[in-house]
Assembly symmetry: C2
Homo-oligomer: 580 residues x 2
Amino acid sequence: MSSLFLRTLREDPADAEVPSHKLLVRAGYVRRVAPGVYSWLPLGLKVLRNIERVVREEMDAIGAQEIQFPALLPREPYEATGRWTEYGPNLFRLRDRKGNDYLLGPTHEELFTLAVKGEYSSYKDYPVILYQIQAKYRDEERPRAGILRGREFLMKDSYSFDLSDEGLAESYARHRAAYIKIFDRLGLRYVIVSATSGAMGGSASEEFLAESETGEDTFVRSPESDYAANVEAVVTPVPPAQPVADKPSAQVHHTPDTPTIESLVAFLNGAGLGREFAAADTLKNVLVKIRQPGSADWELLGVGVPGDREVDMKRLEASLAPAEVALLEEADFAANPFLVKGYIGPGSLTANGVRYLVDPRIVTGTAWVTGADKPDHHVVDLVAGRDFTPDGTIEAAEVRHGDPSPDGCGTLEAARGIEIGHIFQLGRKYADAFALDALGPDAKPVRITMGSYGIGVSRLVAAIAEQSHDEFGLVWPRSVAPFDVHVVIAGKNEEITAGGEQLVRELDAAGLRVLLDDRKVSPGVKFADAELLGVPTIVVVGRGLANGLVEVKDRATGERSEIPRATAVAHLTRECVTVF
Amino acid sequence: MSSLFLRTLREDPADAEVPSHKLLVRAGYVRRVAPGVYSWLPLGLKVLRNIERVVREEMDAIGAQEIQFPALLPREPYEATGRWTEYGPNLFRLRDRKGNDYLLGPTHEELFTLAVKGEYSSYKDYPVILYQIQAKYRDEERPRAGILRGREFLMKDSYSFDLSDEGLAESYARHRAAYIKIFDRLGLRYVIVSATSGAMGGSASEEFLAESETGEDTFVRSPESDYAANVEAVVTPVPPAQPVADKPSAQVHHTPDTPTIESLVAFLNGAGLGREFAAADTLKNVLVKIRQPGSADWELLGVGVPGDREVDMKRLEASLAPAEVALLEEADFAANPFLVKGYIGPGSLTANGVRYLVDPRIVTGTAWVTGADKPDHHVVDLVAGRDFTPDGTIEAAEVRHGDPSPDGCGTLEAARGIEIGHIFQLGRKYADAFALDALGPDAKPVRITMGSYGIGVSRLVAAIAEQSHDEFGLVWPRSVAPFDVHVVIAGKNEEITAGGEQLVRELDAAGLRVLLDDRKVSPGVKFADAELLGVPTIVVVGRGLANGLVEVKDRATGERSEIPRATAVAHLTRECVTVF
């Protein structure tokens, strides 16, 4: 440590909010260069490389082949798939000296697809899985939490290429198993949640979320089963349809001064209708407009949800992706005078050709209080399947604590996590864009189907730190720790110094990765730094050496024990060798 | 090979001119993505990683510490040193979503200097050497020869920080020794040449050039000594001054129709002057204009060289760096009517305050034929130190085959090489720019002095291929080869196939890295691919197996021998294990 390029800090950096960010900076693992752009100092780079090795080994173990694409990429392939535009301001774009457009790769679907098309032609070549571990670039609007959400970050991205849907399912399953091994080896607590696709296009998809209160991703889970899902991916259980026959007929009521669901319910309950209404009995119709990719035209869309729930814009957007969603402006209401703001009912939408999608709870036979399409009027007992027929259902309503779990076991609770992995059955989107076909055994072309699979390698450093620290500093799992043993020389006399150095030589020779604190500072400073740096085993060589003893401290449990110097190397080799 | 992501090509790529480019593409090591931007397929990536490992081991061995900076860098540090501007169109510049300027790092002097300033403060912290192995970006005007001169490339760059010039010399010497070890381990033939600095600013500098006819760098060497230098760095031996007293006085002659040195010499030799003139007796004055960095103003400069030599613009520019050099335009002549085009002599330059620098051969007492500053007139016997006094000397004249070697041993010959390493005593340029000081033992600040040291890691793949190939393909040195052994199954019967697979299992278990050609193609195709891929040892398992024999071929020498299958693993382990 007297020559290590490292200075620890006593104070948290001013811009740091989450523990991993604070500790990784204080312990000298990373340094900020620009917003969301960090450099890796020696200890940080060691941890990063350890993680990289675990990822590489498990990818190799499923037969994935490592290649490496450039980060600087020409525009054309991304133009062909529409992502040059779709990525919007998240893409770093630049021009070369000749004025040609380039980008810094956010992910490499296009390039991998073109690479396979370039090399392979026959069905005999497939399946194949390719991967790379490489710097990625995304111009995040709000980079945050140090390396947790950066703009330059290290990612493992892999892609599978199969001849059939069954093949894709198999490649997907192999990745899923590899990811489980990787995250287990890294000592992470994580859940696998059903996910939606984001900007990638495609279908089956799961995310690996490291459980953490500081995570950006909200997910729900049922404590009574292994169900877990992104909020966007929660599928609302559909109640059974109800008979229509026994329902009273719909009646329009004058309902003045009821601008909110709450005031409407209060009004109805005071109107002497002979029964009690709740917010859940009302049907709230929210109007948005959507635009399909590549289209210039906006289209109106009505979304009906039970009045006790808000529309969750992230769920709505996920349901409508890749279409763009926007709220209506005054001009839109002016252009569509049949929309009576605050009193929109299914009737005017259907009559005017506006597509109308409803929450899955709004099944045939359910009766609703909703807008009567004229100011200050609502209709009561408007029955689905009798008085109105939606164009379909949509997952847009908020998911709440206590909602029934979609798997039928128990109720949902919310939790937060850090996305550390994402596996995704892309399907044929990219193969279609580039006509990636294999010549089949019958000499006919077979369109290839793809999967894409990502692990945020640099983010994992932060995710592990987020889960594994205490008030004194970092606490690395052995598999990622920058060193196996941290030897502290506690004492100034020559015997102690020489004894510590001798121990380090022996540990080195035994194959352990050892950090020696040989600085001329007080033992207190050394102990504090050892806690901060987080090497799993701390060995203190101090006064006890005169009696043939050294102290061994387990960083994670805090347990201390004195062991004989004579057997220390054997003891530490047994305890501390990292089996990667 | 039946599942390896690899397709070899029979034809050279259309855009390839040099052997390494042709073979690396044909053998499926790299693929072009955009001009000067390449991807690495599995075999290429293995070679690249092997080189990386050698570089890393030798850097670690001199106590250098590995860190990693981002490639995406903010403008400000490069603005502070002027390089944001100086790099001109070679820099990839971009803006983020907020409109802030960024660049893709071409080298990282600024960031390393700031990093050390951020962590270190005391003289006790020094010296320190830091390095990274990382993608670099330069928007080359003419990317060429595949990965030999790319726009995205992998580089090891290191930086030393010392308290004194002696310390810098020591850090420089350690790098020099490490580079020699690295290039020796990689099996390269190379020379170390004195070099100039280019855009880096600073002083002592050497380049490591891999000898290659396809190299971009011309250097000169004396076969009679170990002298070698970049043409830009050749220092002209200065002849002794001559007595002025015995020289005839200068005479102006009417010399019509003598626009060239050749016609001037012919005219004089026919003019009955009683002696013979040669081109080397004439003094050619070339006018250029120069602009200092950060200045808007151009300044005239006269450069005088013996008439038998051209001005070498690269040498002139190197001598004047970091100033910018340009040729005069008509407007410049119009603005300076004392410049009589074709007849410029020292007189008008000195009289009009134009700085005038001459070749070192133009010493006091030498007599010259030169322009007389009026049309159609030259002056004969204009004597340096008597009739004109230059403002100094400049290395600008071309260096020629047969010129005396600057070290006094023999004469120079020209050769070509590929720059694979560059070591450079930067001095205090960057420390000055960022006020990088250490607090000395007397509590006074000590300005740090720096060295910068680069190795073109990805370029090395091409440089090695350039030196190590034959008409059939690549011939990798063991230290970088993607595999130790290439086993070819030559035959379709089950015994041969099973025998080959069993041999590979045993070699794998013995720790060898083995490539097995198990494809269902003819032995001829397999042999051709084995030659093309260039694994050092090829083992053929064929009909001989029935007699207990396999064939071993040395890729480099072409030697073949049959060895007993029973001892094959022991034999190959002995021959082929790569000691990295």
